[in-house]
Symmetry: C2
Subunit: 509 residues, 2 copies
């Protein structure tokens, strides 16, 4: 092994080349891989298990708020998409379009599309218009409201530049859609679901977020208000981890979602929509992973513990495997947040390197067990949130009894570390020059590091927002709900006009 | 209300017009509805809950056999589909084809497809070819085998004649794909997964099935052997509820899934695939439902019990609702096969008709609770497997304590009834004339009833199979694994040549 590889399991390191480090972590951890279809990914079992855990836990949170799941068509007739003008404008440039419904032998012998459709079908980029059509049939009286629906599905947005998990042409997501009798109720639901997202992302993914609202320019196409949660990655760029939209009556008017009010008047409903996607897995990777590979928070990890039998002599194999199998049974008997602890046994006969494979895959706890450990009835344990050299022997029964606590410790340690990082790189900036320096490579020897979150005053005008975006590729990530910064007023970081509050500026994914 | 409606909740009845009865049951039970997209359905919450239960329970059975979930692209490049000749032949006539990746303003102002793709993409009708591509990268040594993968996904087959749940252009399914080092191991896996399907469909959906193998003509395109489970609907037609395919080395050769054997020889892998879909929900409806609507087996029901408060005087409302809410808490505290009993409270203020709504929705147990019941600390209970008139008062605590047993009773009663029906309409037929009579309306006054399952001898020749299909629209559903019928030999029902075993003939969905 070369000298460089001996230092870290992932090459390059974060500070050497952050984007390439990300790709290498995804590869080394066996989460996913590119597919032969442009911009689409294959989510491998170790990665899909994270998505299964996300679906299970987030779905339970949705259902607690009264939401139920349903399923709507993959295809949207073109004329439905056109019903809301801003909406279709926002998605027209990235739609996969189905135009034919069979294949037949072409002039050169190969198959060519045939059976042209009367009206082209768009593969859903999002489902407001097709779900709105159903809602319009389901609602006639105020007694039918609210309607609280969620869908777990795949969507397609034909992105020009793709990056695995973060921006793919096809991705998996959930999209919630609700309809209400009053604006107030819809606005409350918008905030409620953003709260669910923030709670989920912080408690399960261990990613601290800032809750706020998007500026008019950054809103979802067709929305009256877009609320979001923003997280800081280790290159100090922002990642939008979830959005919740108050759609006013825009989509209700486009789809004809009308109801008879208690006063017997015909009114349009008020709707919301809200979504999160496999993009969260990208955020998870970039928040916690290190130069040795993936680091998985236990609450959402594909598995919790790997047992690595150490068999150097064939005569030991049976007794070691017996011991390991019994240990696995006892660990699985322990509960972690209401479910059995998940245990892997790595019985591959490949000599060394097994432990490193699991470090790269980010499993929270590793335990090596050889004949000497068994003699002492102990196991040799390493935690993924600590250095790979930081391993210790622990009595077997103590290991079993404490596993839940250890997993909780790791979860908390990851959140604390991410929060400290976010706070260390969130700065109040009042001076235009300092602001530009913060976001340009000139002021740092690490070209891949992008300043961080700048809390700066903004006058509220599109022009200033646009200017900063053009100059620096920096956008307003959100106008935070909870006031950030020390003052109650100041002057716009761009034009110097008066401003009442600070907003969060950052480069972003 | 007219006299006719007073008799049954669904019009027409099964014997009046079976296909129309089916549509009306789907509608009245609120399971699903047609969508504006040709041949695609909207699965509503009451229907999607069944699919969620199917996914949860079937997924657990898969995982017990070592299968793990993953996710592969929705789109398949045309040249991948073409890799296996029989396969592409089988699906070419029903492929949705994506040809463009954006929309732009056309000559008449409306949007038209733009950005033509270099190579058209097919929306997956099944994923052997795209998953095979991944497998070819994952496998290099015999140590990498077996690979045991499943995917829960949507697929599209552009069907000309669609029927909700039974045959839709888009449907939800799971497709398992495995690769093995030996033919024997792949054949064993094919049978193992068919067993999982048979067990699931019988134990959870309460649908008795016959396991067997398809004739060569009815095989999956590209398969060496297709095994299936066949169920009898109440119109005596067969429904194929799941299939498991041994693919030999056909797809391994097409996709280049090669490995170094233990003897260091390069070999092609042996693969299998197996699938079930939302079609099972169609089978569920047609097996158990009656002229009053849907009947749901408890193990898979959207919910188990509905509590219907009876409030005739406003002064009683609070005490009745208190009683009902406390009862709901106690019921939810009961376990049914490892999960809490699911309870609905119908507190709609709509006067009568609430009970009928739940009968039509098929919920296993209904309990009405009014002031008089409360005075006696009892509830008035009806079971969906019995007549709607068959209701009885039962002490509240006894109701709570016995709910699990009652649900198990219902589950068993539904299975027993379906099995008795299947057996009553499965006949050994030896005479060609009797066979033709069995499948033609001439011999019955119920034109919608289609004979049943005919156990008849078949010589094994395509011509005879084809002749019967042309004459009667009757196909060989399967060559049963367990010998059916009383003899060990006979003569072909079509040509009279010698035959060694009886096969199952039926009309089918």
């Amino acid at each position: 092994m070369g000298k460089k590889q001996a230092k870290t399991a992932i090459t390059p390191t974060r500070s050497e080349d952050y984007p390439e480090w990300y790709q290498q972590v995804v590869k080394a951890s066996d989460l996913a891989e590119p597919s032969p279809v442009r911009g689409c990914m294959v989510i491998k079992p170790w990665g899909y298990a994270i998505w299964e855990n996300i679906m299970r836990d987030m779905d339970a949170m949705f259902k607690e708020t009264g939401v139920r799941n349903a399923y709507f068509p993959l295809f949207i007739p073109l004329n439905y998409l056109e019903k809301e003008a801003e909406h279709v404008e926002g998605f027209a440039t990235e739609c996969a379009v189905v135009t034919h419904h069979r294949l037949e032998k072409g002039a050169h012998g190969g198959l060519v599309p045939a059976g042209e459709l009367g009206e082209p079908l768009v593969v859903r980029p999002t489902s407001e218009t097709i779900i709105g059509e159903s809602f319009s049939k389901w609602v006639s009286s105020y007694r039918d409201l609210p309607i609280l629906i969620n869908q777990w599905a795949n969507v397609v947005r034909w992105e020009m530049r793709t990056r695995i998990f973060l921006r793919t042409s096809e991705f998996l997501w959930q999209e919630g859609h609700t309809a209400h009798a009053t604006a107030a109720e819809a606005i409350e639901r918008t905030a409620q679901m953003l709260d669910v997202y923030a709670r989920f992302v912080e408690e399960f993914l261990a990613i601290p977020v800032i809750k706020g609202r998007k500026t008019a320019r950054e809103r979802f196409p067709g929305a009256v208000d877009t609320q979001c949660i923003e997280a800081m990655m280790q290159d100090r760029k922002a990642l939008q981890a979830g959005t919740s939209h108050f759609l006013g009556q825009n989509f209700a008017k486009a789809s004809g979602i009308k109801f008879q009010s208690a006063k017997e008047q015909e009114e349009f409903a008020w709707t919301t929509s809200w979504g999160t996607s496999t993009r969260m897995i990208g955020g998870l990777i970039m928040t916690h992973s290190d130069d040795d590979g993936l680091v998985l928070p236990p609450r959402i990890a594909s598995s919790h513990v790997v047992l690595i039998p150490i068999v150097r002599k064939e005569k030991d194999r049976e007794s070691v495997m017996d011991y390991v199998n019994r240990l696995a049974v006892d660990l699985k008997g322990q509960n972690y947040h209401g479910r059995p602890v998940q245990v892997e046994i790595d019985d591959r006969d490949i000599g060394g390197g097994k432990s490193w494979d699991w470090i790269k895959k980010g499993i929270p706890v590793r335990a090596e067990i050889g004949p000497r450990d068994i003699a002492e009835d102990s196991v040799f344990v390493g935690r993924r949130d600590k250095s790979h050299r930081d391993k210790a022997g622990i009595k077997r029964d103590e290991f079993v009894a404490s596993i839940g606590t250890v997993l909780d410790d790791i979860q908390q340690a990851l959140f604390d570390r991410a929060l400290a990082y976010q706070q260390a790189h969130t700065l109040e900036i009042n001076d235009n020059r300092a602001f530009y320096d913060f976001f340009t490579a000139a002021n740092t020897d690490k070209p891949e590091i992008h300043g961080g979150f700048a809390l700066a005053h903004w006058c509220g005008r599109d022009e200033c927002e646009e200017r900063i975006k053009e100059d620096l590729k920096v956008t307003i990530r959100c106008i935070p709900f909870e006031k950030m910064g020390s003052d109650t007023g100041g002057s716009c970081i761009c034009c110097g006009e008066p401003s009442e509050e600070r907003v969060v500026f950052a480069k972003s994914y």
